[in-house]
Symmetry: C2
Subunit: 334 residues, 2 copies
Amino acid sequence: MSGTFAGRVGAPMPAEGSLAFRVLHGDVRAAARLMRLIDDALPEAEVALRALFPHTGRAQLVGITGNPGAGKSTLVDRIVALLRKQGKTVGVLAVDPTSPFTGGAILGDRIRMQDHALDPGVFIRSLATRGQLGGLSRATSDCARVLDAMGKDVVLIETVGVGQDEVEVCKLAHTTVVVVVPGLGDDVQAIKAGILEVADVFAVNKSDREGSDRTVRDLRHMLELNHIVADGQIEWEIPIVKTVAAKDEGVELLWGQISKHYDSLRAGPGLMKRETARARSELVEILRERLLHVALTRLRQRGGELDELATRVARREVDPYGIADAATNSPDLR
Amino acid sequence: MSGTFAGRVGAPMPAEGSLAFRVLHGDVRAAARLMRLIDDALPEAEVALRALFPHTGRAQLVGITGNPGAGKSTLVDRIVALLRKQGKTVGVLAVDPTSPFTGGAILGDRIRMQDHALDPGVFIRSLATRGQLGGLSRATSDCARVLDAMGKDVVLIETVGVGQDEVEVCKLAHTTVVVVVPGLGDDVQAIKAGILEVADVFAVNKSDREGSDRTVRDLRHMLELNHIVADGQIEWEIPIVKTVAAKDEGVELLWGQISKHYDSLRAGPGLMKRETARARSELVEILRERLLHVALTRLRQRGGELDELATRVARREVDPYGIADAATNSPDLR
């Protein structure tokens, strides 16, 4: 299966034996190494990513998000199994934008994926936040690009939670599945929180639980209230699919809807629009990151180390806006 | 009640009649106007914020976070009532880092706060995300500063969810309360997700529900496992308080723990450390935002509009790293 963008025609092949070359040839160890470089935000990563860039754009990117406890990992596990049966190769990025303390959560989930551990057609990787100076969606985007360059047909991006970070991560995907569970509270607040904007497909997982019909009804009602037609790019009525991932129920139906959405995107200008939106936010992120380094260097030259300055701000001796002025208001920066 | 930082001694008073002047004198309409300016990221906001800055640092900042449906709004409502009984003035910032679609969620919650609508000692304000170019934690920080400058004794910052955004927002507070509810799922994943790092106090809300003892036990176990002593700045064993906000149970106990934590901070170097950490991340945010504008202007001058460039990236004609190079790799930006 190949997408619309099969890479730029006549793109130069990276030098033989280089990291990029090895990734393009599906070398698992090279891919793992590049992802580590990305995680650590090392400059070597960028060299390889630039070389890979013209060769990317083939993979189908699917985001899976939802509140903690919704059963996303199990669902991803089942989707992987289904795709493997269809002969597709799969990459999985499990994004946990949380503290180092909670690394165990993802690790525990990944144990469920161990069925796929020995399958060379599956590549699984967990990504955690790199703290304030790095961008999680940036790292995720870069890692998805590595899986794409490796030749994976489908890249599943699983994110924990539904905050702004997850929304950003979901914007990387062609299709975003929002997973909810029945009876999450007396109100539907859990469903409201910022996810309508990114949902292309809803999965009501654990739908053998009481209240699943009500959840479906509430979701449908909410979609109608908000007149949501998936970001206006294509004619698409957001489907709501009932699943019981633990029993492997509804997974084929769900994947059917995901495929249908992707096909609709590819049939029109939708795919290009999504790719452009993604490129736009990626550009902004890269610029932001670079310029921060510029600014910190400049601060150091002109005002002092960040920590010193922060102490002076905490003491109310200087205000942060004034410091930012000093760092940016020079004629060469206007 | 006044904190350690009563503002810089001898700080100049803003010009009479100016927005900052009026905010300092507790003018509600001026404060609302300044917050709108902050929300819209207008330059006038910065002028006023700079004038206010030396007069801030008195308010006690308390963050309330937790998953959707945990009953945070009700809890905040009860805390406000308690503080008002104690004669304290209160500001509330309800942060919903979600889409414009979901504005209704916050609005609905705020209706519960209507008891306080006519009380001049309470100022309530909802904040939503301003999209990718603005920083939510930056806007929240600025608005908290306005409430502080207005003379509010306590500022409560309520955030929906527990993603990285919320973690950033919580770092603004002196004390962060994480609200959980019993029986959120078969696993304690809901509790794990990135919140241990920011919690100074746990509230197990809706604790009249089944399983609340187990939730308390699980939390305690997790804290022990992770050897958490609230960010190492003070000797502080994170307390777990059972509440039933809807019945006004446990709220005084909870506030007691919040006060105790704040007092511990103030008794030692903890408060200054938190203020410094906050100033540090604020400085980074301000710099980032400014420099992004610089870079976008530069892109426009040298390469083209962002949208054009994004389209070229989507077509794989150029790579985003190359564009960032063009925008930042000039001698004056090193």
